[in-house]
Chain length 466, copies 2
């Protein structure tokens, strides 16, 4: 039928079958993965763009609204779909029938009505969806409360089995991550080129989103494109670009298959860093290089974070912004976190914070929990690195008014920050440099290395558009 002549996104049937097979081998009971449905935006028929749950995408490879994947301990798998409404073909086109979809997925396809003939859903395990409506559907089908609380019993076993698979990216996952990295690279190049004094942040944001859309990619998170980089999660984009501003762009692509890129670059609106901007940019760049050098199998990720923290402390100590006996002592006291208050990165995969729907279960190795220290408390990952893991490395420097004025941090600020020196760097509000890094057999590979990063590269890229 002509409707299917379109270029369907790549789907490696064998890779997904292998993932299901490996999962089945460690299952205590049948597992049900819910794809979810598109949440309504302002009325039921006007929804956000549908994005299937990542666990469903990982094992099926295609977003199918309302579908459930059943993986049985005996190795069989089924994709179960809700019956279409009578007028579905009118509004949404013919779609693939069960046989055609089964061929495309490499997995038997049935109607969701027929689930009970395959297994007793009351004996199945599942992972709670984030979306309340999908959780209600899970509760109804499994006949028990699925409430997003702590995982127990077979659900917990399932979560650990899924994490064990998704932590280490297979060849097909890597293909997707490289695709996401490439589209993300195009976005950042387009953003640098689109930057001109007098425009508003949204102009650059639009150019970056369009560059990814031109590769058939969406965004893996709401882009941050701002001259107020000191606001870590700033989703407003309406400031004007002044010539002496630095523009921070934290933008990542999502492939048609759902995989994420996540990159931050910071560039001067004028195409030229000022001396103060240049000095702090070099501090962050050196910290990132130090952290990336550290990435290799067997290294604890918290030590990567601490390596970046030490480099930031060294840089700020050398510039005189932080004062103290030594950079090591500054890190020991947590003074670096006054300017680098977040973690150096996180897992990357189908989710930009991979598997964060499971809380810290994926990011923290068993027995490890989050620190309560300011700064370290925001570290989203503390595992020993292993081949096939993908992580971000994203140190930063921020002059955050809320931190420098915080009563509980006042002693730290008074003791370690030289406000007179800091004032000389007033044209730097926020710098972050972030890349996506794959842990390889012996060291690491930067997936997003094509994106301008050194001062010379960044200035050239911005100037090329001016």
């Amino acid at each position: 039928m002509e409707i299917h002549s379109a270029a369907a996104p790549h789907l490696d049937v064998r890779a997904h079958a292998e993932r299901r097979r490996r999962l089945a081998a460690s299952l205590p009971c049948p597992a049900l993965f819910f794809a979810g449905t598109a949440p309504p935006r302002n009325y039921p028929a006007n929804t956000y763009a549908f994005r299937a749950t990542s666990h469903f995408l990982y094992f099926v490879g295609k977003a199918i609204e309302g579908a459930v994947l059943a993986v049985l301990p005996d190795g069989r798998s089924f994709v179960l779909r809700p019956r279409p409404a009578d007028d579905d073909a009118l509004w949404h086109g013919p779609g693939l029938d069960d046989a055609a979809l089964a061929k495309r997925l490499g997995c038997e396809v049935r109607s969701l009505d027929g689930l009970a003939s395959l297994l007793d859903p009351r004996g199945a395990c599942t992972l709670p969806a984030i979306d309340a409506r999908t959780r209600a559907a899970q509760s109804a089908l499994l006949g028990r409360a699925i409430d997003g609380g702590a995982l127990e019993g077979h659900d917990a076993t399932l979560a650990d089995a899924v994490i064990a698979l998704r932590l280490h990216h297979d060849a097909d996952a890597l293909r997707e991550l490289r695709l996401a990295a490439d589209a993300t690279a195009r976005a950042h190049l387009a953003g640098m080129k689109a930057t001109h004094p007098g425009l508003r942040e949204w102009h650059v944001r639009a150019a970056m989103i369009a560059a990814m859309a031109h590769e058939d990619c969406g965004v893996s998170y709401e882009p941050i494109v701002t001259v107020h980089g000191e606001i870590l999660h700033n989703h407003r984009s309406d400031h004007a670009l002044a010539p002496h501003d630095l523009l921070l762009a934290d933008v990542g692509a999502e492939t048609p298959g759902g995989w994420a890129g996540d990159v931050t670059r910071t560039w001067p609106v004028s195409g030229r860093f000022t001396p103060s901007q240049r000095a702090l940019y070099e501090v962050v760049l050196a910290a990132q290089a130090r952290a990336i050098e550290k990435v290799r199998p067997g290294v604890r990720y918290r030590d990567v974070h601490l390596a970046a923290s030490l480099a930031i402390a060294e840089g700020l100590h050398a510039l005189g912004i932080l004062r103290g006996a030594s950079p090591e002592s500054l890190v020991h006291e947590g003074a670096h976190a006054l300017f680098f208050p977040h973690g150096v990165g996180h897992l990357l995969g189908l989710d930009v914070h991979d598997m964060e729907d499971l809380g810290d279960r994926a990011g923290y190795a068993p027995g490890r929990t989050r620190s309560t220290q300011f700064g370290l408390a925001y570290l989203r990952l503390d595992r020993d690195l292993a081949p096939g893991m993908a992580v971000t490395i994203e140190p930063g420097y921020y002059r955050v008014p809320a931190i420098l004025a915080d009563a509980s941090l006042a002693p730290l600020v008074a003791r370690f920050v030289d406000r007179d020196v800091l004032a000389r760097f007033a044209d730097v509000r926020g710098i972050r440099i972030e890349d996506d890094v794959l842990v390889t057999a012996e060291s690491a590979e930067v997936l997003t290395r094509a994106i301008p990063k050194s001062i010379g590269e960044v200035e050239s890229a911005v100037q090329a558009g001016q």
Copy 2:
């Protein structure tokens, strides 16, 4: 504080205060409007872009996540906000304090904790949110089940009072609708210009979205940009553009204030309509003109739909695709709906189908209900038009395989469709022409008239990019 130096979107404080005042005058009890929260996309911290509920936006003018607007029968109003988390200023910036926000909104601002000191929420009325999580918050605050079922008691009274206001756009609403229309016009011009054989649908879609983003506008619904216009709600955009294809683009902007544009144009990928495409395009264009001529105060919207239907029947009868005693008899039998199966339009405002969160309560005048006839059953609006209403006018022609093969429609098809003639128009799968129309004191104004529409205008606009 520097963070607030950005160009904040226009907010007419007096217009919003007047809306609240008018609402208060017809309230049976205090009314609570919930702004809602951003739904999570794949894990809690990664949400879709927040879009406040339209009722909240209508009376407040600014999206404030988690906030509640209280309007009291005595005329007082309060915006109540959840208390920020301790580290909110770190991640999201300082934000406006209550006094500064109150000044910006022209309405007292308090913490949501303080609601009980203003009114007893168990005696308040509300409108059920579409989002399940927000409905749960409503239920908890009001102490009763808010389940999205039929509206009763004071909630129903509130709905009718809100509908009475929102049906007739005031000057500030019109300013927003014109802004949306202008950004939508830029999108369609950009789309026509970006069209080249060999590209994929998503290239054009990206260009259209970027053009709106350049005006700081998002999308009021997921854009449809497709060479398969016969699929009415086609959100895939991965087909290649062949030279003889028609490309149908149903794309509308959403202003920063949340107001919607909604326009469809259909243009030839090559920049030249074929004779068969031209013939059917003229049929749809004539039907749209006939329907727009009909729009004026006092006219029943169903009669606008029937005028378009008759024009479609006349055109297809003249071409020989439909055969029968007369175009009037074809409409009487519903034969036109085989090729024009949807309604001619709907209300337009803050929602692209305005107030459809209330079901047919806004679209259908009291005492009127949806027809069960094929075609008419999809008509979303059946009110008598009045000054200040905005509607879309969007007739179309579609060759839908699911309709022409439908068993229940087979007698109609056999009796009225000349398949031999239809085959001569095989290069037309779907054409829709849609504009946004304001009912004025004596007739109507097309808000989106700047967008190329005649065959000559459309061909020129596409050719300009080639």
